[in-house]
């Protein structure tokens, strides 16, 4: 009986503690959409927000609109950047780190890395070790010398070599995926049966 009382008390206390005053959130049902700055973006960001009753464009950092049922989106409003960063601090902090891309190159017709790419493999290993929950995708590619079938196999051998090096460096095998596109996706378009060093590569994404 006593134990039940203590438990009930602690729950009501916890509930009371989580009731912060909320200033900026609208009380009524609906949605809120805000465009945020992206330091990594190469092109300007833009979001088109549509309801059955109308459309608005968000084209500036910290521009936002409110959506309420069966109404047009509100006219575009601007929020102070510091206020927005504070308001959405927890969800922004929860974003995983930006995925990083690497390309390593191979000698002709072989699964042997070029000497420069052997050195760059160290960068890949370092990036993987720096992440708390890494997932790595390795895709092998070839140039157009040889048949599509043999190039699929060669691309897979190239991807597997890199995969094995990452596992050898301590990465869990279940967090790495090695596949091949053979000669299907050329970095530099060429006719068939053309040796092209830039097409003999593996592309690595470290998430």
């Amino acid at each position: 009986m006593m134990r039940f009382f203590v438990l009930a008390f602690s729950i009501s206390l916890a509930t009371a503690c989580t009731r912060h005053p909320v200033v900026t959130q609208p009380p009524e049902p609906g949605a809120f959409v805000m465009l945020l700055p992206d330091p990594d973006a190469a092109t300007a960001s833009q979001v088109t927000v549509s309801t059955p009753a109308g459309t608005v464009q968000l084209a500036n950092e910290y521009a936002f609109t409110n959506l309420t049922p069966n109404r047009s989106p509100s006219p575009v409003l601007m929020m102070n950047g510091a206020d927005a960063d504070r308001m959405f601090q927890s969800v922004l902090a929860g974003l995983p780190p930006k995925p990083l891309h690497f390309s390593l190159y191979f000698e002709s017709g072989s699964d042997e890395l070029t000497s420069q790419s052997r050195m760059e493999l160290a960068d890949v290993l370092r990036t993987v070790r720096d992440r708390t929950a890494p997932f790595v995708m390795v895709v092998g590619h070839t140039d157009t010398v040889g048949t599509p079938a043999s190039n699929y196999e060669l691309g897979l051998r190239r991807a597997t070599i890199v995969r094995d090096r990452l596992i050898g460096a301590g990465l869990d095998a279940s967090t790495i995926e090695a596949t091949s596109h053979g000669e299907g996706i050329l970095l530099v378009p060429t006719p068939d049966d053309t040796a092209e060093p830039r097409n003999r590569r593996v592309e690595i994404v470290v998430q």
């Binding site: 959130q25 609208p26 009524e28 049902p29 609906g30 949605a31 809120f32 959409v33 805000m34 465009l35 945020l36 700055p37 992206d38 990594d40 973006a41 092109t43 300007a44 960001s45 833009q46 979001v47 088109t48 927000v49 549509s50 309801t51 968000l58 959506l67 309420t68 049922p69 989106p73 959405f88 927890s90 969800v91 922004l92 902090a93 929860g94 974003l95 995983p96 930006k98 995925p99 997932f135 995708m137 596109h181 299907g184 996706i185 994404v205 998430q207």
Partner: protein, 95 residues
């Protein structure tokens, strides 16, 4: 995460995830989303991304699907849909 999967966080749960095309999502507590469509097949030039935010707060950073086929990216809320030309945004839905 696969197409048509739903994700929910509890009252004290957070979730951050990276999809195959490098799209990144973060969910605050008490948030629910559904991935209605996810197609990332660059070899066949097929792309699609439709995410429905049912409730809560979601941060979205666009990935390669948005880069290769911006018209195929859509975020939905119960009250309206969003067409995205990149790259980083936050959505809050109160049902």
């Amino acid at each position: 995460m696969y197409e048509s999967d739903g994700l929910k966080t509890g009252a004290d749960g957070h979730l951050g995830l990276t999809l195959k095309d490098d799209t990144r999502l973060s969910l605050d507590p008490s948030t629910e989303v559904q991935l209605r469509s996810f197609v990332y097949a660059p070899a066949e030039r097929r792309f699609g991304f439709v995410l429905s935010v049912v409730r809560g707060v979601v941060a979205y950073v666009s990935g390669r699907i948005a880069q290769f086929a911006p018209d195929s990216v859509r975020l939905e809320t119960p009250d309206g849909i969003l067409g995205i030309r990149g790259t980083r945004l936050v959505i809050r839905v109160r049902p």
